[in-house]
Subunit: 260 residues, 2 copies
């Protein structure tokens, strides 16, 4: 079965062997059904509810279990979403810029309403590894603030912020958890000069899936951030987890890298 | 069961209800086993082979199917890797900078040997959508070059490059597929001035899993790149797919964003 990439150039077919890799032309049954469902979805507007598993199974002459596996793939990738007991066509993924702008600003730029719900805010004795990252002594008090991230009425992520209590002694009484922590820091005169980020894909843990309301083991995008103040000292450590089916990240690269 | 995050601060336990989210303390059995296996893995050096599923099942008093699910999770996340019929402790993920440096340069900086194997190189009439992106007329000839990416003796990704034939008319006879395409362009006097990238997580298709040698439906990191020449014109469109269990991406952000 031919497959067309997002550029429109077919990616399958051709000679039987390419560079030692057999292009045998056989595709697992569930994937063939996935292609048929994808074709169906491509022709439907966002929000349209799909026919039931049984109806799709009849239409495509496939077992319901096969249809379910194909739908599961498209749910994990964000082409479809749950709608009550059914399945609907999902909108495009949010595109969040990899920049020093906060989550709040990034979501607003896309015309969505950002929100944050506090899960936990308390101070802990700083563990050894985090102390090294934050330039603190082991055992010095550090805030852990955990918030669920919202876009409109949808939970889309989970963010843990670690910052020395010394940097923001009254965080627990002054700070509105449904606002931007960076704005709060700026108002307090803390310069926010740069950050190192590392982005990877992980599976949601049961607790994370519960907090974000996703199916367990959904692929997530995890961003580790260590930000610096104007003097180059570590300011905060952040662990941001975003639904892989709802988010993508963008970067604009300019020619300033001397090695490239 | 308490869970400790990578910062060392426990993420579970505490009050029964936090911000309306039940912290009920119950964890699926496979996840409890996953925590036990993670603890075991943390104490072992890279490359060490784990006890068999049966041995782990006996040790943890769990069903083999439960152990298998826990191991599958840790394989997908890259903590473990297949070693023959067994399972071994994996090394850290590669950290590839999001920069204009090529794959080749990024991998070399980490002391690994980059390699590329050609899957396909041929010219096609440019489809409409790609034509818009590349600033070409629909139907103008465009190269599609597809290469498997290697790090040492391991297949780690799959890259599709689309470039107008006019830009590199002799690509098929001049270019060594196991070298850097950017070096080739530079040698031909093509300036490479910047790029827009978009990064998301997707599942490997059966064909991609076959080419890269991964289990099907492994979460992958997909980077879409559109690069520009010195005049700001589109130069090439690239679709790079990296094993999510083997790669992470890093970015250094500086305070130059006027909106932040």
């Amino acid at each position: 079965m031919a497959r067309v990439s997002e550029t429109g150039i077919p990616q399958d077919g051709g000679s039987p062997v390419r560079a030692g890799v057999p292009e045998h032309g056989r595709v697992p049954k569930y994937y063939a059904v996935r292609l048929l469902v994808t074709e169906l979805v491509d022709g439907l507007p966002e929000g349209r509810v799909l026919p039931t598993e049984r109806e799709l199974a009849e239409r495509f002459g496939a077992a319901r279990e096969t249809v379910r596996q194909a739908l599961r793939d498209l749910l994990l990738e964000g082409r479809l979403r749950r709608r009550g007991r059914g399945t609907a066509v999902a909108g495009a993924k949010l595109e969040q810029p990899l920049s020093l702008a906060s989550y709040t600003e990034g979501v607003r730029r896309q015309g969505r309403s950002p929100g944050r719900t506090l899960v936990d805010l308390r101070s802990w004795p700083c563990p050894a590894k985090l102390a090294v990252e934050l330039g603190l002594g082991e055992g010095e008090p550090v805030w852990h603030m955990e918030r669920v991230l919202w876009a409109d009425d949808e939970r889309v992520g989970l963010e843990s912020t670690y910052v020395a209590v010394e940097r923001a002694p009254r965080l627990d009484v002054e700070f509105d958890p449904d606002s931007s922590f960076y704005s709060y820091l700026r108002e307090r005169g803390e310069a926010f000069a740069g950050a190192d980020e590392r982005l990877e894909t992980v599976l949601a843990t049961p607790r994370e899936a519960l907090l974000i309301g996703t199916p367990p083991a959904l692929p997530m995008l995890l961003i580790h951030r260590l930000s610096r103040d104007g003097q180059g000292r570590p300011l905060e450590r952040v662990r941001s987890l975003y639904r892989g089916d709802r988010f993508s990240f963008t970067a604009r690269l300019e020619r300033s890298d001397p090695d490239s």
